[in-house]
């Protein structure tokens, strides 16, 4: 990706091998990892921030930080994606903290219009209920939002989410159940009030 060498790493190179090459300074290998994860990280950050502009800005920062620290990356059995999601999670947390300090921009006021994006056809017909559900998700505590996004947007298993969030599989399972119950209760209240 970054230099013009003819001996470029293949795009189906496993993460582990690409990571080994990238941490020893092979920029093409980092390019393979970038291409593989840019969409996933963008998606995650987008749902956490609710707008394109910040999603692009934070995604760029995630990869710039990863590039800067990849020579010091140590394989501790945690997948590369988990490392990237942790960087993304920390940057999003900082972003929320910075925004909370500016009273004129309330988090709930940030427009959230995923239908403006390139989405699958099934999502174009979004109902009011689905919009309300999205708003409820954005009001959940940070770890619960992260869990839902990793589970539904990225399709990770509980074990994989546990690795990313630094918790056990059982803890994730329990947190997921509690999150669903909380969402259901909120939805019940919302629709009861509306009716």
């Amino acid at each position: 990706m970054f230099n013009g060498s003819s001996n470029r790493p293949s795009h189906d190179l496993p993460d582990k091998d690409a990571l080994k090459l990238a941490s020893s300074g092979d920029q093409d290998a980092f390019g393979v990892l970038y291409q593989r994860y840019v969409g996933k990280i963008y998606s995650y950050v987008y749902y956490r921030t609710g707008n394109h502009h910040d999603a692009e800005d934070l995604t760029a920062r995630v990869f710039l930080r990863a590039l800067r620290h990849i020579p010091n990356y140590q394989d501790r059995g945690v997948p590369f994606s988990a490392w990237l999601y942790r960087i993304a999670h920390n940057l999003v947390a900082n972003w929320h903290r910075d925004n909370a300090r500016k009273p004129e921009i309330h988090l709930d006021d940030i427009p959230f219009h995923p239908s403006d994006l390139v989405l699958p056809e099934r999502n174009l017909l979004r109902t009011e209920e689905q919009d309300a559900l999205l708003r409820m998700i954005r009001k959940l505590p940070s770890d619960r939002q992260q869990l839902l996004l990793l589970k539904f947007v990225e399709n990770f298993s509980n074990a994989e989410i546990g690795v990313i969030m630094g918790r056990t599989e059982g803890a994730i399972k329990s947190l997921y159940h509690r999150t669903l119950l909380a969402l259901r209760d909120q939805a019940d209240n919302l629709f009861r009030v509306e009716n």
């Binding site: 980092f30 390019g31 590039l67 539904f152 969402l183 259901r184 939805a187």
Partner: protein
């Protein structure tokens, strides 16, 4: 009754999961953004090899200057330490002399005028 309630709850949660599955779908970034970031990463990338070369580029003059500065600072620290030690010893001397004088004053015979 309890079983019915729990069955209803499970059905609610299943419906909720279905709704989440429908709305939480991957969002694609703009192609221009991906390409622009790719170019940005390319321009900021510094390979470890380049970093090593930069370390080797330190000239002998720089190394000598750093060495001399280190020796000078060590000497200055030693001198400051020596001065502090001398000052402390001086203070101890003064204190002990003062103590001796007080002792001598107390033990001196007192002349009584009758």
């Amino acid at each position: 009754m309890k079983i019915l309630k729990s069955h209803k709850q499970n059905a609610d949660l299943a419906r909720l999961e279905q709704a989440l599955d429908q709305i939480l779908v991957p969002v694609n970034p703009r192609r221009e953004f991906i390409e622009k970031l790719q170019a940005q990463l390319r321009s900021t990338a510094v390979s470890p090899r380049e970093t090593t070369i930069r370390h080797q580029e330190s000239s002998p003059e720089t190394v000598t200057a750093i060495g001399l500065a280190s020796i000078f600072s060590i000497l200055m620290l030693a001198a400051a330490g020596f001065r502090t030690a001398v000052a402390i010893l001086g203070l101890i001397g003064i204190a002990s002399e003062f103590g001796k004088q007080l002792k001598a004053k107390k033990s001196a015979p007192v002349l009584r005028v009758s």
